[in-house]
């Protein structure tokens, strides 16, 4: 009998927990609906996106992962408020959910379905081919050859990382800077490679010998995951022990651990943020950030929805660059003269006069 009691209370606990979760869930949903109604009441002319249905399928991270799912969803919310589109969302609990989730949205008639992450690459392709009348967009994946109704959203993050590398080399007092990644995959190493070339560019321009730890162009330091703050702390510590005073973590939440270490170091070590302006998104450690490399996924998602609303279609892949504003650098604590110098380099990359 004891066992039954145990299971029963476990079930109750699950039920209570899920109750809270579902309560929060429908809170959000109703808020969204409320916002939407306000918008339609305030504006006299209907917004261009009224009647357009924009849907999103996340990967297994879920929409509140403080990472790329969340940034992507921010683009959806922007489209809801600025274009007046109706939005919907399905989160995937496992790989097995990708295809049925996409199918559900196709049945619902979503004019555009945005999928998040390269894991959904094959499922999105299959859905796009089966539903020629609907549009698709996928974050961090590019189709080659291009599909007429599916747009890959990719980002030339080596460009702003190059600027950050130059910036770090210029600001380092010890002449040593560091970087590391979450997992050794191309969307991560592209940042590290850009950073390395930026440091190198500074050295050739100024005849300096700033050294980079953690990436040599082929291999480097990786945490092996995207979630252990302890790993971020340890890697930052070991790079600081080797003399690095500016570190560029490309590892999502792992980087927050490095920021924590930097905060404890009392200004000896400082950090370059990644993906979003981390001096804003991580206010507790805002003081340790010099600058952040921006990857504007939300803007790309918004643009894809806008193209569907305006009827111009989503045929070509989108590549976010410095030239089109899809990537960038947010300066937090950079002297004005250096900021102007780095911005000039950015302009040079954008117009092609500086080759990465």
């Amino acid at each position: 009998m004891r066992k039954h009691k145990g299971l029963k209370s476990a079930a109750l606990a699950i039920a209570a927990f899920a109750l809270i979760a579902s309560a929060c869930g429908s809170d959000d949903a109703t808020e969204e609906v409320a916002e939407e109604e306000e918008v339609t009441e305030e504006t006299t002319a209907p917004l261009p996106g009224a009647g357009t249905l924009a849907c999103m399928v996340t990967d297994t991270g879920g929409v509140d992962d403080k990472g790329f799912n969340q940034i992507s969803y921010a683009g959806m919310l922007q489209a809801e408020s600025e274009l007046g589109v109706t939005i919907d969302l399905l989160e995937s609990a496992s790989d097995a959910d990708y295809a049925p989730n996409l199918q559900s949205f196709a049945d619902k008639g979503c004019n555009i379905t945005v999928t998040v992450g390269f894991l959904l690459g094959d499922a999105t392709k299959a859905a796009a081919e089966a539903n020629a009348g609907l549009s698709y967009a996928i974050v961090d994946y590019a189709y080659d050859p291009a599909i007429a109704n599916a747009r890959g959203l990719v980002f030339a993050t080596d460009q702003p990382s190059f600027m950050a590398g130059y910036l770090s080399a210029a600001m380092s007092k010890t002449g040593i800077v560091g970087t590391y990644g979450g997992i050794n995959i191309p969307p991560v190493t592209i940042f590290m490679e850009g950073f390395r070339k930026g440091v190198e560019y500074y050295n050739t321009q100024k005849g300096a010998t700033v050294k980079l730890l953690g990436w040599d162009g082929k291999d480097g330091t990786f945490a092996g995951n995207f979630d252990s703050l302890d790993d971020g702390k340890n890697i930052a510590k070991s790079q600081a022990d080797e003399g690095a005073d500016i570190i560029f973590p490309v590892a999502g939440p792992v980087g927050l651990g490095s920021a924590q270490y930097a905060l404890e170091s009392g200004g000896k070590v400082r950090i370059i943020g990644v993906d979003v302006d981390m001096s804003v998104s991580n206010p507790d450690a805002a003081a340790v950030y010099i600058a952040s490399v921006l990857k504007k996924i939300d803007a790309a998602v918004f643009a894809a929805i806008k193209d569907v609303v305006e009827g111009s279609g989503v045929t070509d892949n989108y590549v976010g660059t410095l030239a089109n504003g899809g990537v960038g650098v947010a300066f937090t604590a950079v002297p004005d003269a250096l900021k102007a110098e780095v911005e000039a380099i950015g302009a040079g990359i954008a117009d092609g006069s500086i080759k990465i």
Binding site: H4, L90, S94, A96, D97, P100, K108
Partner: protein, 374 residues
């Protein structure tokens, strides 16, 4: 009334009660309608949510296909838990056994080139063997050292998932051009045929013949319990290990055998997901199925037919839940609540009846498994 009917009626009542409570939850969380004092609208949401639930699980061929797809691994993993329950063992290790079966099935699936008629059974057999070998470990540990299977199976789940994570990154399993933990594809000849393959090449019908494997396994489980000495001895050990030993049964080796049989079922669950649904394996291939399977077995009272029915019910809830979320804004998380409530209502009357010593009624709900002391 015969026992099966009685318990079926009882399960049905539990489902209805759970739907009632869930309806209440939908209403009180429908803030917008409640804010306007519009109760009618809130109840309308309940209606639309449950209509979505039905439509998404049985409303079309695709819905039925999704129900079957969800039920297949739950059935096989549920049998793994049920088989152990019958022998008085609490198998929390279906997750680990699934992963073991997934990896061995995957290996046979891509490492050999054979005609489908041989390749498919060979790969499934490998899955069953992988799961059985992994499942036997806690059996041996218990028989030899007395280590409790609840502890060892939980620990072995962790060992299995990290071993698979590592394996998937080795050159042998790793997919070309990918550095994350994702395997190669299995050969087409090793893939389980689609269940509705005769309907033409419809990509939205995901159900595969792993379900047939599940039905055969259900029959095999029934046959084992009813028609074999081994099955009889398993159940005898489950009811009273001391008495079984006194009657001359080798209870220690029965433990190992029972866990191996359980592991074989779970291994098939992992194998049929890899060979039937995904065509590859990732670290999350087992998901929460191993734990959901415990509820499936409990709901099905560890009987073959009961496990089948409750696996179909859980599969239907999963498939319908997605439609419910798309049609209304009721999140799919409600399904977790609903499932927990069903299990709770099944378990609660057992308690109630035991408290009031209503012996005659209570026996039909059957012994499921024994406590920690066993």
């Amino acid at each position: 009334m015969n026992e099966t009917l009685k318990s079926l009626r009882f399960t049905l009542l539990a489902v209805v009660a759970a739907l009632f409570v869930s309806a209440f939850i939908i209403v009180i969380t429908d803030i917008e309608a409640l804010g306007d004092g519009n109760l009618g609208k809130a109840f309308g949401t309940v209606g639309r949510a449950y209509w979505g639930l039905f439509k998404g699980s049985f409303g079309s061929l695709r819905a039925i296909s999704n129900t079957i797809t969800g039920a297949t691994p739950l059935l096989l993993a549920g049998l793994a838990v049920s088989a152990a329950f019958k022998a008085g063992l609490f198998n929390i290790g279906a997750t680990g056994q699934m992963l073991a079966g997934a990896v061995t099935g995957l290996f046979v699936g891509f490492a050999f080139q054979l005609p489908p008629i041989i390749h498919v059974p060979f790969a499934l057999l490998a899955s069953a063997a992988g799961g059985a070998a992994f499942g036997a470990i806690p059996g041996v540990l218990k028989a030899r050292t007395g280590a409790h299977e609840v502890i060892t199976t939980i620990m072995l789940n962790g060992i299995a998932s990290f071993t698979v994570l590592w394996l998937l990154k080795t050159q042998l399993f790793k997919r070309e051009g990918r550095d994350d933990a994702i395997s190669k594809f299995v050969e087409d000849s090793a893939k389980l045929p689609k269940l509705f393959g005769f309907m033409g090449n419809r990509i939205d019908l995901l159900a595969h013949t792993g379900f047939i494997v599940g039905l055969l396994a259900t029959f095999a489980f029934w046959w084992l319990l009813r028609k074999t000495t081994l099955g009889f001895e398993m159940q005898a050990t489950g009811f009273n290990q001391e008495a079984a030993r006194y009657a001359g049964m080798r209870t220690k080796s029965l433990m190992v055998t029972s866990m191996a049989i359980a592991g074989a079922f779970a291994g098939l669950a992992g194998g049929s997901e890899v060979l039937g649904l995904y065509g590859y394996a990732s670290a999350t291939v087992a998901g929460d199925i191993g734990f959901d399977a415990i509820a499936v077995a409990l709901l099905g009272r560890s009987t073959p037919i009961g496990t089948l029915v409750s696996a179909l019910l859980f599969g239907a809830l999963q498939a319908g839940g997605r439609q419910m979320q798309v049609d209304t804004d009721v999140p799919i998380d409600l399904i977790i609540v609903l499932r927990a409530l069903i299990v709770m209502f099944i378990a609660a009357p057992l308690l109630v009846k035991a408290m009031f010593r209503m012996r005659g009624e209570a026996t039909s709900f059957g012994q499921t498994f024994r406590g920690w002391g066993g």
